[in-house]
């Protein structure tokens, strides 16, 4: 029931994602049919080519889809993310069933019929168009049907490379462990696959030579196909329409809640402060935001200084926020022609957390204060913190910390609960995590500046900034406006209270 509520409440987004999904599938299987059917026909004429061509198509089919997407990113360069690689991958997957079914369908025509056609003096083209193709049509449609169903499923994974579609919900749901969201993507996708299967299955039956398909059935089919083509056209027109109408920039976001909130903040700020339309490209995982920005597929996104410094520029971690910001600003300008705008204020780094009552009772403000009590404490840390260069080993060394027993390694989200329930006494969380507020925890200040800074700041392409300088001005009004506490509240509202990002951000900006 929660699922139905969700789908109804978000119907415009569900519709948009469904249309995007349909668009990917129709373009991919449509072009695979346009190429695959002629190739299959050629193979029946040049049978020596059949084995190698089918073998290649077979191999393509066995490549796991995530691997294929990953492989296409460097190969396609600036077009490596978004719809283009998604459509190419779906196209490649669709080829095998279509080529194979065309080949077997045409070859499967009764040899007596073929001999009669030749014996009566049909040319090869007449035999193909009047006899072989009509008789093989149902088998060919069966191939298209298989390809379509595969594509509907595989297209959900394309959300990982920013192609949109119903997979967006699935990935979002997997990340936030939200079953309703996963279902909101999976159920419509499954319904689409079933519908495609049923529709093409009935077309297949009507077309089978022994079926006695009536004119009315066929006519109904022509109407249905026409409607589908019109829908695809509308989707395409809608997409192109957005792309060409007026000033427009694209803001990207990574695949976690905070990044999504920040892109919404930036987007609403721009739309409130200028007359530029903003589009958002969400759920970009790994370093896709950076790649898309460099490639010009998006115009800006919010990055963390520490991530840019260590993960993208590959510098060893350092802890002074000013130095890190200045360094990434200089390097990005010279290396990528990208501009860092003013930091938004908060610092999303490791947060050393204790219970609020402990902090008040013992008067703890910073980590050094806690060092002398630590010998009686137990600590719980996430796997990430235990293994990172800028994590546990340097941390205990810098502050000379000793605990009553070796720290327990546990899932990050569990460690919050463990702290609140007095199973451990100190944990390393994320400084902007909404749970800090919720559970009444206190973050101890990193008074020896051990943890590298992860200040959030928008990055924008220089050519975009030159074209729309008002965007830079508008976004810089956000400088130092979002504190750690405010970011925690925003995260909490979206993650824990499941409130809509747009609404939450709108409320925040109205204050």
């Amino acid at each position: 029931m929660k699922l139905i509520d969700y789908l109804v409440q978000n119907r415009s987004e569900v519709l948009q994602l469904t249309l995007e999904h349909l668009f990917l599938v129709l373009v991919a299987t449509g072009s695979a049919s346009l190429i695959g059917i002629p190739v299959g026909i050629i193979l029946t004429r040049r049978t020596s080519l059949a084995k190698p061509v089918l073998a290649i198509a077979n191999v393509l089919q066995t490549i796991p889809s995530l691997a294929l997407f990953g492989f296409l990113i460097p190969v396609l360069g600036p077009y490596g993310i978004g719809r283009v690689p998604a459509i190419i991958a779906l196209f490649l997957y669709s080829l095998l069933p279509i080529i194979r079914n065309t080949f077997t369908g045409v070859n499967g025509v009764d040899p007596a019929v073929r001999e009669a056609a030749r014996g009566m003096g049909m040319t090869d083209w007449q035999m193909l168009t009047q006899v072989e193709l009509p008789l093989a049509l149902n088998v060919i449609v069966a191939g298209v049907r298989v390809a379509t169903v595969i594509s509907v499923g595989t297209a959900t994974i394309a959300a990982a490379i920013g192609a949109g579609g119903l997979g967006t919900y699935i990935f979002r749901g997997l990340r936030t462990v939200d079953r309703t969201l996963i279902l909101a993507g999976a159920v419509p996708a499954a319904a689409m696959a079933l519908l495609a299967d049923l529709a093409l299955g009935s077309l297949e039956r009507i077309l089978s030579p022994g079926s006695g398909g009536t004119i009315i059935n066929r006519r109904r089919w022509v109407v249905g196909l026409g409607a589908l083509v019109i829908i695809a056209g509308l989707v395409a027109y809608f997409n192109v329409g957005v792309a060409t109408s007026g000033a427009r920039i694209v803001v990207g976001s990574k695949d976690f809640t905070e990044s999504r909130i920040l892109s919404e903040i930036v987007a609403q700020t721009i739309e409130n402060g200028t007359d530029i339309k903003v589009e958002q490209a969400t759920e970009l995982s790994g370093d896709l935001c950076h790649r898309e920005l460099v490639a010009g597929q998006i115009d800006m996104y919010v990055e963390y200084t520490g991530t840019a410094f260590t993960a993208i520029l590959k510098h060893p971690p350092i802890s002074d926020p000013r130095t890190v910001y200045d360094q990434v600003k200089t390097d990005y300008a010279s290396l990528f022609k990208l501009e860092w705008l003013q930091p938004l204020g908060f610092n999303n780094t490791f947060a050393i957390l204790v219970r609020g009552d402990d902090a008040r009772r013992l008067g703890l403000k910073n980590i050094s204060d806690a060092a002398r009590y630590a010998v009686n404490w137990r600590a719980g840390f996430g796997q990430d913190f235990m293994s990172r260069k800028d994590g546990y080993p340097g941390f205990v060394q810098t502050y000379g910390l000793r605990f009553s027993e070796p720290p327990r390694e546990m899932d990050l989200s569990l460690s919050y609960q463990a702290l609140a329930n007095h199973q451990v006494d100190l944990i390393a969380g994320n400084s902007t995590d909404g749970l800090i507020e919720k559970l009444g925890l206190v973050q101890l200040e990193d008074d020896r500046h051990y943890f590298p800074p992860y200040e959030a700041a928008p990055i924008i392409r220089r050519d975009t900034l030159d074209r729309y300088p008002q965007v830079g001005d508008a976004v810089n009004r956000l400088a130092r406006r979002i504190t750690n506490e405010e970011m925690r509240k925003l995260n909490y509202a979206v993650d824990a209270e499941k409130r809509d990002v747009k609404v939450v951000v709108n409320e925040f900006l109205s204050k």
């Binding site: 009764d110 019929v113 009669a116 040319t123 006899v131 009509p134 008789l135």
Partner: protein, 259 residues
Amino acid sequence: MSQSQQSEPRSGSVDGPADAVIQFRNVNLQVNQKSLVEGLAFEVLRGETLVLLGRSGSGKTTTLKLINRLLDPTNGEVCVEGTSTRSWNPIELRRHIGYVIQDTGLFPHFTVERNIAVVPRLKGWPENRTRERVRELLQLVGLDPGMFANRYPRELSGGQRQRVGVARALAADPPIVLMDEPFGALDPLTRAELQREFAALTKRLNKTIVFVTHDIREAYTLASRIGLFKDGHLIELDTPDRFASSMDAEAQAFNKSIE
């Protein structure tokens, strides 16, 4: 299809004997070193029904396919209307020759009407002439046009399908008709009925017919001459009367089978 100069020679203006429509001149056909037919040298005369008789795999069907160029000889040549099949445009040649096969090869997605009209339409006949011709042929093969024209092959009995197959082969009024065991898959009663009707039909139509069968009775019912095949060779070619008293062992074996 463009009509090249040599592709439609006028019957009669031939360099062989005036009444030889098809001539085999020392024809061999080998496929993968295996000889399918060897040393074929015979003629088919205008208006006759030549029945090629023999066991399965003796080379009868191969011989038939050499006439409409579904196969090309390895050596020697086959002449149709005085012109070597190699010089014929194969498409024109085939539209000039009717062709009936055992499995009929009717197009399952075409109605009876469209099946019969295939060659006239390939030849670009006007539509009303084609329709008229289809009605005429259905009547000729004993099927009521009103009842059968719009049926699909799957809605016909085996015998009806063969009648349609014959009508289709005759549609564009070809002077030559090749028939490859057309009645072979029918039950004995239907087969006998069709053989009788077909024998009467051939007398009226004055076509040159080459008819392949392994059924000696059928050969006697239809043939003006019988050619006997064995292991890719034509070993006997004679009128039914003389064939009945042949001294050849294979011919005697066939004749004995109906005593």
